[in-house]
Amino acid sequence: MKPALKRLGHQPWLGSFIAATVVWLMTIAFTGGQGGGEILTSALSFGTFTVIVGLGQMMVITTGPGNVDLSIPATMTLSGVIAMKIMNTDEALLLIGILAALSASLVVGVANYILIRLLRIPPIIATLSSSFLILSTAISYGRGIRIKPPPSLAEFATVRYAGVPVVAVAVVALSFLLAIVLKRTIYGRTVLAIGQNERAAWLAGLNVKSVRFATYLLSALFAGICGILQSGFSGGAALNMGDDFLLSSIAVVVIGGTSVAGGKANVPGIWGAALFMYLLVTMLNIFGASPGVRLILTGVMIIAVITMAGGEKASR
């Protein structure tokens, strides 16, 4: 029991869960115990979307310094717009819409990789500039019309059992899958190896190029999935639907204990961090903080959590 506890204490994701719990307790202490359950439910609903894109971002960041996907919000929007327009509220076109949206996302992933690999543009610039192209495509394709999702998609994206959203359960399953991929597959090992030392990974006979390619594809695919679900959840696609996810996709990765320097990923930490971020904003709202104060405190709290969780890294 002792060693297990000790090992638990060394997990870098623990910090984000503790922080989330503390924030939640402070909130319900303020409300006198009212609405604790509802807050958790909505944290799960909204946090889930951040987790989906966060997982993709985590894989990209883990492949080493300089790797980041800034095209996630644009890809989400494009995917949502394509899905809604093709489905056109028709149940029969649901699958086709999903396939088309995800295919478009994969094209974005391929384009990102081409910019990075063939044109040797740093990922931060490549994905940022591709977002402009993607977003323009979404705007011209969507033409500002707001189309409702087919009822079954809306149902799937919003339904809850005992306060637990079905989507959250599905994404927990996805997270488990990804954790296994990281730990138990050659692809996962390669991602971790490249992140530590790309040259050594190449000399160890690992397929650096194709794994890097697959990782940018994966991130785009997850953004696409998130775009479809988000559209179902909020009653349609909107051109600004991805805006909040630019910073939050990166923040949950970092707060969750994944190394920004690469080579070390942390799946559960993404969940803790996503819940923490949502609960923090909720708490400040309930406290009646003005938007300015809310932003300042959010920034300060994120710094505090990273500092506490990063103690282990500093000693290295």
């Binding site: 138990r184 597959t185 090992r189 000399l203 160890a204």
Partner: protein
């Protein structure tokens, strides 16, 4: 009675157990060009680093212009004393112009119009040394071809501002120069020494050393072993002085006499990526040595074979790095993971790595390589350097690779570990694996069936096990003159 520019008395320097300098006495007189020769590990580079102040000696004293240095000896002090060095690996800032690089060396170039003055300074020197050089002081270093970079760096070393110019060290200065500019440089050395500047010339071109120097010092094993006026040496006697008597015979007795002449050819490569020049051929079960002075294309050839670029390779390969930190280990991982990374495919079922099989493989190689650790799940950095290297050997040998490329892997490894690994290589070669082994140590060539000596990126000699001798390798490593 000539003035002395610099004097070293009994200078010693050790890196851990390695004694790089074992008591060097050296005097360079003002106005003299001293040729310095020696093979890999003779201590030339360490000695130059001591002179330029980037390394401080463990023992011994240094005198500049006849005055013993008493205070702190540092790079800045060396610069003030008028000691300049052109290193083999060029040290100009690639993102700055030629003139700006000149400014880095001369702090008095400040205030209004410094750039103009820096340009004039470096242009005048370039004109003086390399007439018709075609370099504009405003050219950015990165845009210049390697030969012109070297010209700029040499010219910079000879520029004079407030500090006097006492001694210029030229470490392989002609390695990137063509015959004409090399000739210009050698002529300039003659003029500069006539003005009283001392020059130390290090080169693998013995003809250059013999013609440009007044006096030649031969280093070996961290000591100066021979010293004569230049006309007291010829090519043969220089090579003989660099080698030693005992070595040659001992290598024969330990070499493996194998009958690999008829086994299948696994690797064929042209080291200089052209179709001309001698070819490197590796057969099944052979241990092939790559010898010659460091930096003459051995590592590049290994990487070329590894990436199958202008090389035909009929077998899976594995690479054992010599530079563990940059090419080898994954330092966030356990020893086990570092060992198994090359072999994951062999225990992956339905796309999933079998953790038990992985642990078994790690344990097996822990005992086979005698990796000294209580637990293979410990981080790789808990191991000593030698044991980290063993883990890298285990990674390659545990894999399905039948051709193992080794990039001077015994750098900084203790003798006990070395002997264990040599045994392992012999056993594995007997079992049909082939090794391509770049080494900077003569003794290791004794384990090879055939040795290719490299010079200027090309194979300059191919020696079979029976005829491997230090003298023959030295002969092939040092050229008479630039070809």
């Amino acid at each position: 009675m000539t003035l002395e520019a610099i004097r070293l008395d009994g200078v010693e320097k050790s890196f851990g157990a390695v004694r790089a300098l074992a008591g060097v006495d050296l005097v360079v007189s003002a106005g003299e060009c001293l040729g310095l020769v020696g093979h890999n590990g003779a201590g030339k580079s360490t000695l130059m680093h001591v002179l330029t102040g980037t390394l401080s000696p463990d023992k011994g004293s240094l005198a500049v212009g006849g005055v013993t240095v008493s205070g702190e000896w540092s790079a800045a002090a060396s610069q003030r004393a008028g000691i300049r060095c052109v290193f083999q690996e060029l040290s100009l800032c690639p993102n700055l112009s030629v003139a700006e690089n000149a400014r880095i060396m001369h702090s008095p170039l400040r205030g209004f119009g410094w750039k103009k003055r820096a340009s004039d300074l470096i242009r005048a020197k370039l004109d003086e040394i390399f007439p018709g050089h075609g370099i504009d002081p405003d050219d950015e270093i990165a845009d210049l071809p390697i030969g012109k970079r070297q010209m700029a760096e040499i010219a910079r070393a000879f520029t004079v501002m407030s500090d006097p110019l006492r001694l210029v060290i030229l470490d392989e200065p002609t390695s990137s120069l063509d015959a004409v500019t090399a000739e210009q440089l050698l002529a300039y050395i003659g003029k500069e020494t006539a003005k009283g500047t001392a020059v130390i010339l290090i080169s693998h071109l013995l003809g250059e050393i013999l013609s440009a120097s007044n006096r030649i010092v031969v280093m070996k094993d961290g000591k100066s072993v021979a010293e004569r006026p230049a006309d007291g040496f010829d090519r043969m006697s220089l090579v003989a002085a660099m080698g030693s008597e005992g070595h040659g015979s001992s290598s024969h007795s330990t070499s493996i006499v194998s009958s690999t002449g008829t086994s299948p050819v696994l690797v064929k490569a042209h080291p200089d990526a052209s179709k001309t020049g001698p070819e490197l051929v590796v057969r099944k079960g052979e241990v092939i040595g790559l010898a010659g002075l460091a930096g003459h294309g051995q590592t590049r050839t290994l990487l070329q074979i590894f990436s199958r670029d202008h090389a035909s390779v009929e077998a899976p390969m594995s690479f054992i790095a010599g530079d563990r930190q940059s090419d080898g280990i994954f330092n966030l991982w356990s020893i086990a993971r570092n060992v198994t990374i090359r072999s994951l495919k062999s225990f992956t079922r339905f796309g999933l790595i079998d953790p038990d099989a992985e642990a078994r493989l790690a344990e097996e190689w822990k005992s086979r390589m005698a990796i000294r650790t209580p637990d293979m799940d410990n981080n790789i950095l808990t191991l000593s350097g030698g044991n980290q290297q063993k883990a890298l050997f285990a990674r390659a040998l545990a894999s399905d690779a039948t051709v193992i490329l080794m990039d001077d892997p015994m750098r900084g490894v203790d003798i006990g570990t070395k002997l264990e690994v040599y045994d392992m290589i012999r056993t594995e070669a007997a079992n049909g694996r082939s090794f391509i082994w770049y080494t900077t140590e003569f003794d290791e060539l004794a384990y090879c069936d055939r040795v290719y000596v490299f010079r200027n990126g090309k194979i300059s000699d191919e020696i079979n096990a029976g005829s491997i001798s230090e003298e023959r390798i030295l002969q092939a490593s040092f050229a008479e003159s630039a070809a």
